[in-house]
């Protein structure tokens, strides 16, 4: 059924209000067992707007990952279809997943071009030496053992050469670390990831502070949407492609870990702690990951799906969630300078423009939010 644009926007904002009002409870409540058979657990937290779009989104086969065109009348976002082998594991794969970020490419190069040849060479050297001594000095061929127990030269060599090899490894290694720890530029988008038992919440403090709750899709539903089973989610973390992102992680209950292998990204989500690292996704696409710290029964059932969109489509998605987009230079750095302590009490709405109804700008994922007058 088609909706008029204003009707759609009203429903969206009511849905967003519902989402934001109830998301804190969803985050705080003892997680009801989210049966794998149900797609909507915790049902209240799924964005009704996204759900509406899921119904509208083309389910039929679309083999390439071209950016989805909005269905007529919908609020402008259709989840992109992933490309086989991009941003996901490869069947029978034995290599690092293809990388789509600058530090990822550097790290992959260091692993494939420096580390792998080195460790393969060392293992082959030891194997060849063992086979050689085993053959040359077996009892039949060498009945009289020598009494040699020292040779200073060789002992020096096999101490110094490994040291030199390690120094050679350390140079790109330290370079990689330095690059991974650079700060994102001022004004970079901030996304705060919260780990829950057993789903993820993605908060956009720069864009109105709404939270997207992301649950695993049942295998059948994932396959229906052309996504890999066990990795697909109902609501993805949508970010702009080709821009630096400030990604923060925290948790609501136990330690989780936010990981996306194809972006060479992993950062633990620790309750009471706000971790931060920058992320850059070179091109639009869907990039999957899984929780990477044991967090209870469904640790293996809380996947991550990051969808990178060109900026215009990203902004459309933000608006579809009931968020705000726009130059808020004073707000962005303040919101982004989230101190490590008490991350969940950020009054992020202080400088937001009240473009949408007040409820939509309440900070998300905050225990019963006392909404400051927006």
């Amino acid at each position: 059924m088609t909706l008029g644009k204003s009707t759609a926007r009203m429903l969206t904002s009511m849905g967003a209000a519902l989402l934001l009002a109830l998301a804190p409870q969803a985050g705080m409540a003892q997680p009801a067992p989210a049966p794998l058979a149900s797609a909507a657990a915790p049902a209240v937290a799924a964005s009704p707007a996204a759900a509406a779009q899921a119904n509208v989104a083309p389910i039929a086969d679309k083999p390439d990952a071209s950016v989805a065109t909005p269905a007529p009348g919908a609020s402008g976002y259709t989840p992109m279809k992933p490309t086989q082998g991009i941003g996901m594991p490869v069947p029978g794969g034995w290599k690092i997943q293809e990388q789509f970020s600058p530090t990822g490419r550097y790290a992959e190069w260091m692993h494939d071009a420096i580390l792998m040849p080195l460790i393969t060479g060392i293992c082959l050297l030891v194997l060849v030496l063992l086979l050689f001594v085993g053959t040359r000095y077996r009892r039949k061929r060498n009945p009289e053992p020598s009494r040699t127990t020292h040779n200073t030269l060789i002992e020096v060599i096999w101490t110094l050469v490994p040291v030199l090899i390690l120094v050679m490894i350390a140079i790109p290694s330290i370079t990689l670390l330095a690059r991974q720890y650079e700060s994102p530029p001022k004004g970079a988008l901030t996304v705060k990831v919260t780990g829950y038992q057993w789903y993820w919440g993605y908060t956009y403090p720069d864009n109105g502070g709404f939270e997207v709750i992301s649950n695993i899709l049942p295998d059948a539903e994932a396959l229906k949407r052309g996504e890999p089973a066990h990795l697909a989610v109902d609501n993805r973390m949508v970010v702009p492609a080709g821009e630096w992102i400030r990604l923060q992680t925290t948790a609501a209950d136990v330690i989780h870990s936010f990981a996306v292998p194809s972006l060479w990204f992993k950062l633990d989500a620790v309750p009471g702690r706000l971790n931060e690292k920058r992320m850059f996704i070179e091109k639009p696409g869907v990039y999957y990951g899984q929780c990477s710290e044991l967090c209870g029964a469904k640790h293996g059932f809380m996947p991550i799906a990051v969808e990178a969109l060109p900026r215009p489509q990203f902004e459309a998605w933000i608006r579809a969630q009931g968020g705000t987009v726009g130059p808020q230079p004073s707000a962005a750095p303040a919101a982004a300078a989230a101190p490590a302590a008490a991350p969940l009490q950020q009054p992020e709405t202080a400088a937001e423009k009240p473009v949408v109804p007040a409820a939509a700008t309440s900070p998300a994922a905050v225990p019963p939010a006392t909404v400051p007058a927006a």
Binding site: A107, L118, V133, P162, V270, Q290, E293, L294, G300
Partner: protein, 567 residues
């Protein structure tokens, strides 16, 4: 059990000391022992039994992981009395992985290396009649057994909201192990570790005192066999790291039961504190599990090459260096927790340093064989397998040591592959090597060389089939500690499960060999291995008398032949 000791009479020393072979009655002998050889035997049987259980658990795990989907977990959850819910079924996975690791680490490898081989052979090798504290030695064994019992109990009481058993992983990170596991199961698991830890600390005290004070006249520290060096270094690692573990898990107990908030941010605590405390123990722990293995490999390579170990001092102090540096690298287990950049750079560099003394040891073993006269008896075959496979595990460790690289591999199967190479192949191969080397001495019987070689080859193929593909799975992005996975991971998981079946069949060969040895094995002489076996245990009968060296042997200056006896 040394059932043949009763009949053996003649030996070198103790002429006229006929009570050297007088043994206590059965209950006193086996439940109140003060004899290092009997206690070693108790530990060995205990380790074999619990290792079998740990291996069966991993078989259950591999069966479940063979295909995507959940097939068997529900049945196992039912076995431990959990309710029939989805959550309880999935929780059972976490219980299995936790139990597998705790059993293998605390109740198999450590008891076998230190409790069994350490107790049996350190006094013999230094020419001592027993350990310094024989009764405390017995306490250590029975505390270990009690700890195992507590761990078994933990599986049958509620763990978290869903099912029975502790599902925290052997690392027991807070808050999953505190507020995330409200039932008594984790308390029982923590108690198990407390008991095993106390046992090991007392064992460490015993070994250090024995080695420092009870070496036979003429055996200076620099003349001790390398196995004794390895036990000495390991004992110090135990002594210094276990108290930190005890503190960490005690803080878990008080957070869980007495209202403290050490690891709870809402009370001013920090979950990361737990990780620092745990891994400060955890990293020395992995060296505890391999260094005695290094010692045994040194003895075996020297024996079957008929040549002393190359670079004795380098070997001894390499172990010391590994032990010392092993205390200052712990945070490489925490690379993704949000450490600051300088911390991560330090721990990257420090971790890579350990590769240097380890490499010295690998090359020294090869140099020992170089120019030797090598006989490929089964202990040496296992030792050679260990050297090669441990090298593979070591180099993947060098990959993981790089903090920036570890961001990809942390908590993936790459790590599981790495540590199983250094443990299931490094530690376990050296355990089998030591077992086949010393079994004739302990039992007085020869095992079948053919069966031990068969065991080796089938086990070698099996474990490589299980664990090599795990590197592939990790690189492809498969996380650890999950019971189900996206279908792209199916191929290598299935392959690994087949490898498990191969490995398990080799263990049948092992047990058949044991039975054969006791039923039909030839009697073992004092020294079945020839002139290459130069340490003191080979001067005694097989098995040794109940009490040996009541007159201390004298070690003459033997121009570098370390720990060699001249009767």
């Amino acid at each position: 059990m040394a059932t043949t000791a009763d009949t053996f009479q003649a030996h070198h020393e103790d002429h006229g000391h006929h009570d050297a072979d007088h043994k206590p009655g059965f209950f006193a002998r086996w439940f109140m022992s003060t004899n290092h050889k009997d206690i070693g035997t108790l530990y060995l049987i205990f380790a074999i039994c619990s290792g079998t259980l740990g291996g069966i658990i991993s078989g259950v795990m591999r069966a479940e992981l063979s295909e995507p989907g959940i097939q068997y977990l529900g049945w196992w959850a039912h076995m431990v009395g959990s309710p029939a819910t989805v959550d309880a079924t999935l929780h059972m996975w976490n219980v299995l992985i936790t139990a597998h690791a705790l059993i293998m680490i605390f109740f198999t490898v450590m008891p076998a290396l230190m409790g069994a081989f350490g107790n049996w052979f350190v006094p013999l090798m230094i020419g001592a009649p027993d350990m310094a504290f024989p009764r405390m030695n017995n306490i250590s064994f029975w505390l270990t057994a009690a700890g195992f019992t507590s761990l078994m109990i933990s599986n049958f009481v509620p763990g978290d909201a869903s099912g029975n058993g502790a599902g925290t992983g052997w690392t027991m990170y807070a808050p999953l192990s505190t507020s995330g596991s409200p039932g008594p199961s984790v308390d029982f698991a923590i108690f198990a570790i407390h008991l095993a830890g106390a046992a090991s600390i007392m064992g460490a005290i015993n070994f250090i005192t024995t080695i420092f004070n009870m070496r036979a006249p003429g055996m200076t520290l620099h003349k001790m066999p390398l196995f004794v060096w390895s036990v000495l270094v390991t004992a110090f690692l135990l002594l210094l790291s276990l108290p930190v573990l005890a503190a960490a898990i005690t803080m878990l107990i008080t957070d869980r039961n007495f209202g403290t908030t050490f690891f709870d941010a809402s009370g001013g605590g920090d979950p990361i504190l737990y990780q620092h405390l745990f891994w400060f123990f955890g990293h020395p722990e992995v060296y505890i599990m391999i260094i005695p293995g290094f010692g045994m490999i040194s003895q075996i390579v020297a024996t079957f090459s008929r040549k002393p170990v190359f670079g004795y001092l380098g070997m001894a102090y390499a172990m010391v260096a590994i032990g010392v540096v092993g205390f200052i690298v712990w945070a490489h287990h925490m690379f993704t927790t949000g450490l600051d950049v300088n911390t991560k750079m330090y721990f990257t560099a420090a971790t890579m340093v350990i590769a240097v003394p380890t490499g010295v040891k690998i090359f020294s073993w090869i140099a020992t064989m170089w120019g030797g006269s090598i006989e490929f008896k089964s202990p040496l075959v296992w030792a050679l397998g260990m050297i090669f496979l441990f090298t593979i595990g070591g180099v993947t460790g060098v990959v993981l040591a790089n903090g920036g690289i570890d961001d990809y591999m942390q908590d993936t199967y790459y790590v599981v592959g790495h540590f199983h190479y250094v443990l299931s192949m490094g530690a376990v191969f050296s355990l089998f090597a030591g077992f086949y080397y010393w079994f004739p001495k302990m039992s007085g019987r020869m095992h079948s060389e053919f069966l031990s070689h068969l065991h080796f080859w089938i086990f070698f193929i099996g474990v490589n089939m299980i664990f090599f593909p795990m590197h592939f799975l990790g690189l492809d992005g498969m996380p650890r500690r999950i019971p189900d996975y996206t279908p792209a991971f199916t191929y290598w998981n299935h392959f690994a499960t087949i490898g498990y079946m191969v490995m398990a069949s080799s263990m049948v060969v092992f047990f058949v060999n044991l039975i054969y040895a006791f039923v039909a094995g030839k009697r073992a002489g004092d020294n079945p291995w020839g002139v290459g076996a130069t340490t003191l245990e080979w001067t005694l009968s097989s098995p040794p008398p109940y009490h040996q060296f009541e007159t201390l042997p004298v070690i003459e200056d033997d121009h570098g032949h370390h720990g060699v006896a001249h009767a």
